[in-house]
């Protein structure tokens, strides 16, 4: 129980990351850097200082406390991140919650305690815990111990992962995970590298291996990004990559693109890349249909609109 992990956030009452009512634990740190990431504050392993300008009351307390007195520009209330050491003192004194820290070392019992608060809801609904991130499997020992404890308490367990981790990390959690959501972003290796910073060979190898050990427990999630992975050719390629393992999958989910994470980029001081307009429902449906056909209906393709 001495283990601890770098956690960004624990979010309760989630209804869409697995069956029933769920608590989602967002781990910090990811080796990919997808340009459309919805949780940009979880990508870095370091603490992130989040600044929600809309909540700022311009009291200047952060300016006073900042050790180098140059992190915050007192006049414009602009967060100058260049010299920031992520010490978090500004967030400690910020009265309005405009400045917050993403990333906190939490012990296993801290996290378990939070999860157990909704135990009766899980029991009633068949829900449980979902580990997400960031890439939770970069902190695989913690994940393993956490899931093991959850299983012992009869809590359903799910993992949301991009699978860009060494296989042995994945192996550690297989016995304790009831469900895997695995991201599969782009089928072509080069293109994958272009948009996520890494090529996808490791991801695909891991997915193939996982599909052998965890038959019927995997839902592959494809985030549909306009003009990146939504052409007919992409469908063809996805189908080609997935056809060999599709019979072992529980399903494939196509996630519609949206630009809702823009403000998170702003708060965490990152540059936001827009990929244009979101797809229409009809486009998503026809995409699902085509992919399902290409896979000869051996696996159900859902659209999440």
């Amino acid at each position: 129980m001495s283990l601890s992990a770098n956690i960004s956030n624990i979010s309760r009452s989630s209804l869409h990351d697995g069956p029933g009512i769920r608590t989602v634990v967002y781990f910090k740190g990811c080796a990919l850097s997808c340009l459309w990431c919805h949780n940009p504050e979880t990508v870095s392993y370091k603490k992130d200082i989040m600044y929600a300008q809309i909540k700022c009351i311009h009291c200047g307390k952060c300016v006073e406390i900042c050790p180098d007195h140059h992190i915050i520009d007192g006049n414009d209330m602009l967060f100058l991140r260049d010299g920031c050491t992520h010490c978090g003192k500004c967030a400690d004194v910020c009265p309005s919650g405009a400045l917050t820290v993403s990333g906190k070392e939490k012990t296993l019992s801290d996290v378990l305690k939070e999860i157990e608060k909704d135990l009766h809801y899980y029991k009633q609904s068949g829900g449980g815990v979902t580990l997400s991130g960031g890439e939770c499997l970069l902190q695989a020992d913690f994940c393993r111990d956490l899931l093991k404890e959850c299983k012992e308490k009869g809590i359903h367990t799910a993992i949301e992962t991009a699978l860009f981790v060494p296989w042995e990390n994945i192996e550690k959690v297989i016995p304790y995970a009831d469900l895997f959501y695995t991201d599969f972003k782009i089928a072509g290796s080069e293109k994958h590298k272009q948009y996520t910073g890494q090529d996808n060979r490791l991801i695909y190898d891991n997915l193939r291996k996982l599909s052998e050990t965890s038959e019927g427990k995997i839902i592959v999630r494809i985030p549909l990004i306009p003009a990146v992975n939504d052409s007919d050719e992409d469908i063809e390629q996805f189908a080609g990559k997935l056809s060999g393992i599709s019979q072992n999958l529980k399903g494939i989910e196509i996630l519609k693109y949206n630009s809702l994470a823009a403000s998170k980029y702003q708060s965490s001081g990152r540059e936001y890349t827009s990929f244009g307009d979101t797809q229409t429902d009809d486009e998503i449906i026809s995409y699902c249909k085509k992919l399902e056909d290409k896979l000869q209906s051996r696996v159900k393709v859902f659209c999440v609109i």
């Binding site: 009291c59 608060k117 009633q124 609109i305």
Partner: protein, 871 residues
């Protein structure tokens, strides 16, 4: 086999048969069919139909004409296509198109087959909502005739109960029986407009026009204005309630307020009118009179009961007259229906479902004629009406569709823009079995189909069918008007029993108006009689018994100077001393006001239909009912708990401020915004499942319940705790200085036991857990909470999970919850004041996000979108 499937897929638009396909791939038909079934799990025909309809559904959604789609997919006729579609989707393609527009694809609506609104009901609904007939023309009769009757009785020197009875009698005798084309149920309340305003004519040209429109004679109009100018002398001397100085002051600043609002808040025994008719009830009055001797109450009762025997006939006569006139607006079958029911009820026992509903409506109208509509409520309608429904269905003289239509007509009759005429469905019996019946579902269906404001609550327990709760939540999601609301029997019944109500009667509880609890036909609940503002108790500690809003007021008690409170416990004890003081002032005011009600506010009609009154000869307002209790509203529990948590942390733990400094901050209404934000964000808040503060809330409520038990003995009245604020959190806020929870001076308090607005940010389950930690089983007056939810949360695919959330929270002790499904206006407000709407989240794709974290453009986008889906 994959090749075969591919072939089918490629040729799906052609006419396909198993024989042809088998032949093409060189198999015998039987072998092929066998193999096909074992591979696909479907027969060939089923598979083709499935695939075809699925594709064609996509085409239909893309906007193609249904006829064209049918042709494209190899159907010779549209009806063949419809048939195939019906088999796969359970509806016609047209319907599918309509439904799918609003619904999530792939999560198709699990619609229970529902009866649709008939043309008749659609027209009547339109008329009610647009107030064509309802508002103006029949709105003054109740008040005018009542005044005439009462004035005559006063001039004759009669007692108050006889005066009121005379008023009711006069209305029954004189009102104009109006029948609207198409309606199956008749009768108007004739007293209030749609906003609950009482209508009376002024002595002007317009007033006289109103009098003529209402069919009131000139003679009666003149007499009415004469009475208005020279009111008759009341033969009963005025009773003056004498409050102490402290009582007046507590009352004046809404700190502790006691009165006697027994008026317009009842559920009485309408069921008795259905069972006996007024002719049977008349015999009961005579029997009681024989036993107890002649009493003014009995005289009055006999008078209006005798008049009520003819109430139905007035309508039957009117219907016959219309029939003879040959007015083409009316359907003669409808008129015959009205003649048949109204000739029998309310005079005689109801013989069938339609008569039962009509009789119930008459019984309700008489109740509203006694003291207006407001929150006079109807009770457990599915239980009262079920025997009649069942008998008719069994006899084959009523169809479900007809029953549906009659309930529609009743709902339309009850419609108001401001509606607190509550009715209730569901519940559980004393033997633990579920009371849910076919009518419970039918009433939910009607509520959904009419889609307007209808004050409806749902009772449920661990023994209630999950499907019923699920269906109710679905209706909440579809109607999006915050109805129905939910009451947990497993909390309410023990709470009532703890206050001396027999278990069997407790099981029959129902609601008045908003959330007030009543044992129908057996109790006078004195709903919302007392109200107490917790934050004033805190204020009085800072002022050592004095108000700080009005420094010359001294309603509290001296708890000493602030220097004395060296520990948090000593401070907390001082607060609770002020709470005790305020509750005592509230209850003593109730006791005194009660005397006034006994003399001046007899309620003969309510007495007639409330068990205990007739038998004992005591009026409803003079402790005549079997159960006579007073509901005391405990307001501001969440604010006091949050405030105490701030004080514990900043004054006693961190020692960052002294009590004197805090007092300065509060009196000056947070001169430094940073301090206010610190108090809000750096100390735990109730509503987030954080024990440190939730436990304080539970402790405050528990102690208040103890105090009310003591005061019940002191004043020899039964006081029920009711942690409910109605709308008065606004008034209480106006009368309270800034509080340590970060609430500015004048801002509203939290609604009932919901968290303070915008202070719950840990999700729905956390909020429900916080509420459930309160000692709900000690508060039979309902521990009420409103939960604000995004309409997306209530979409059909989430209903199962929401049902589970409700069940799980109820097991923990959740008592009452109402869902406010947030609309665009709220979102616009949320955009302007993000700090107040912390828990508002929007769901888009793989994640949810809090509304106030979205960029302004996206907020606008979502505001626009939500408005759209709400249409």
């Amino acid at each position: 086999m994959n090749d075969i499937l591919k072939y089918i897929h490629n040729n799906i638009t052609l006419s396909l048969s198993a024989v042809d396909v088998a032949k093409k791939f060189g198999y015998s038909k039987w072998y092929f069919c066998d193999k096909f079934k074992s591979f696909t799990g479907k027969t060939f025909v089923e598979y083709v139909r499935h695939y075809r309809t699925q594709l064609s559904a996509m085409e239909i959604l893309s906007g193609k004409k249904i006829q064209d789609v049918a042709m494209d997919y190899g159907y010779d006729t549209v009806s063949g296509f419809n048939k195939a579609f019906l088999k796969e989707y359970g509806c016609s393609p047209t319907e599918y198109k309509k439904q799918a527009k609003e619904a999530f694809l792939y999560y198709e609506k699990r619609r229970i087959s529902m009866i649709q609104l008939s043309d008749r009901c659609a027209a009547l609904r339109d008329e009610a909502v647009n107030k064509k007939h309802y508002q103006r023309y029949y709105a003054i009769q109740r008040n005018l005739y009542y005044e005439l009757g009462a004035a005559d009785a006063m001039e004759a020197g009669l007692t108050p109960t006889e005066v009121i009875s005379e008023g009711i009698t006069r209305i029954i005798e004189k009102f104009t029986p109006v029948i609207i084309p198409g309606e199956l149920l008749v009768g108007f309340n004739h007293g209030e407009d749609n906003y609950g305003e009482l209508c009376l004519p002024e002595e002007t040209e317009e007033g006289w026009a109103l009098i003529r429109d209402n069919g009131i004679s000139e003679e009666d109009g003149k007499r009415f204005f004469e009475i208005k100018r020279n009111p008759p002398k009341n033969p009963t001397p005025d009773y003056v309630v004498e409050f102490t100085e402290a009582e007046w002051k507590a009352n004046a600043e809404r700190a502790g307020n006691g009165r006697c609002i027994a008026d317009t808040h009842t559920v009485i025994g309408y069921e008795k009118v259905l069972r006996l008719g007024f002719s049977g009830i008349l015999k009961e009055i005579e029997a009681a009179e024989k036993k107890n001797g002649s009493l003014p109450m009995y005289n009055g009762m006999k008078k209006f009961t005798t008049a009520a025997l003819k109430m139905g006939d007035k309508f039957a006569d009117a219907a016959e007259k219309i029939k003879q006139s040959g007015n083409e607006e009316y359907n003669s079958a409808d008129l015959d229906f009205i003649i048949s029911t109204c000739r029998n009820v309310p005079k005689n026992p109801a013989r069938n479902f339609a008569e039962a509903v009509q009789s119930l409506l008459f019984a309700h109208l008489l109740n509203t004629w006694e003291d207006h509509i407001n929150a006079n409520s109807l009770g457990r309608l599915d239980q009262i009406l079920y025997p009649y429904y069942k008998a008719d269905i069994d006899k084959g003289i009523l169809t479900k569709e007809e029953a549906f239509e009659i309930i529609c007509c009743l709902w339309i009759k009850l419609y108001r823009d401001y509606d607190v005429q509550q009715s209730c469905v569901g519940g559980s019996s004393a033997d633990g079995s579920s009371d849910v019946n076919e009518l419970s579902y039918l009433m939910l269906d009607v509520t959904e189909q009419l889609g307007f404001i209808r004050c409806l609550s749902v009772r449920y327990s661990e023994n209630t069918e999950k499907e019923f709760l699920r269906r109710a939540l679905e209706v909440t999601g579809h109607v999006q008007k915050g109805v129905p609301f939910y009451f947990n029997d497993d909390v309410m019944i023990p709470a009532l029993v703890s206050k001396g109500i027999a278990f069997k009667d407790a099981c029959n509880y129902t609601q008045i108006g908003c959330v007030e609890t009543v044992i129908p036909g057996k109790s006078n609940p004195h709903a919302v009689t007392g109200e107490m503002n917790m934050l004033k108790a805190l204020e009085y500690v800072f002022g050592n018994g004095h108000s700080m809003m009005h420094p010359d007021y001294f309603p509290g008690i001296e708890t000493g100077s602030l220097d004395n409170f060296k520990t948090y416990e000593s401070f907390y004890n001082a607060v609770m001393k002020q709470v005790r003081r305020l509750l005592d002032l509230t209850c003593s005011q109730v006791k005194k006001s009660r005397e006034y009600a006994v003399i001046h506010m007899p309620r003969p009609y309510k007495s007639l239909l409330t068990e205990g009154c007739l038998e004992s000869g005591h009026d409803f307002n003079d402790a005549g009912a079997v159960y006579d209790y007073y509901q005391i509203m405990l307001c501001g529990i969440p604010n006091l708990a949050d405030s105490l948590a701030v004080i514990r942390k900043f004054i006693y733990e961190d020692k960052k401020y002294t009590l004197d400094q805090l007092k300065e901050i509060l009196v000056n209404n947070f001169p430094d915004e940073a301090v206010r934000q610190e108090f809000i964000n750096k100390a735990p808040k109730y509503g987030n499942d954080i024990s440190e503060v939730d436990d304080i809330a539970a402790e405050i409520m528990n102690l208040s319940c103890d105090i009310l038990d003591e005061l019940s003995e002191k004043y020899n009245l039964s006081f029920h705790a009711q942690p409910f604020t109605f709308l008065w959190m606004i008034d209480h806020g106006n009368e309270s200085i800034a509080s340590p929870d970060g609430r500015r001076s004048g801002e509203p308090l939290a609604y009932s036991c919901s968290s303070m607005q915008g202070r719950d940010f840990n999700g729905l389950t956390a909020l429900l857990n916080s509420i459930a930690k309160l000692p709900t089983k000690r508060a039979p007056g309902t521990t009420s909470a409103i939960v604000e939810v995004d309409p997306k949360l209530f979409c059909d695919r989430n209903i199962d999970t929401l049902t589970d959330i409700m069940i799980a929270a109820s097991k923990k002790g959740l008592c009452n919850v109402q869902f406010n499904i947030v609309d665009a206006e709220t979102l616009i407000e949320a955009k302007k004041h993000p700090e107040k709407y912390n828990n508002l989240a929007v769901r888009v794709s793989g994640f949810s996000q809090k509304f106030n974290l979205l960029s302004p453009e996206l907020q606008d986008h979502i505001i626009g979108r939500t408005k759209h889906t709400c249409l």
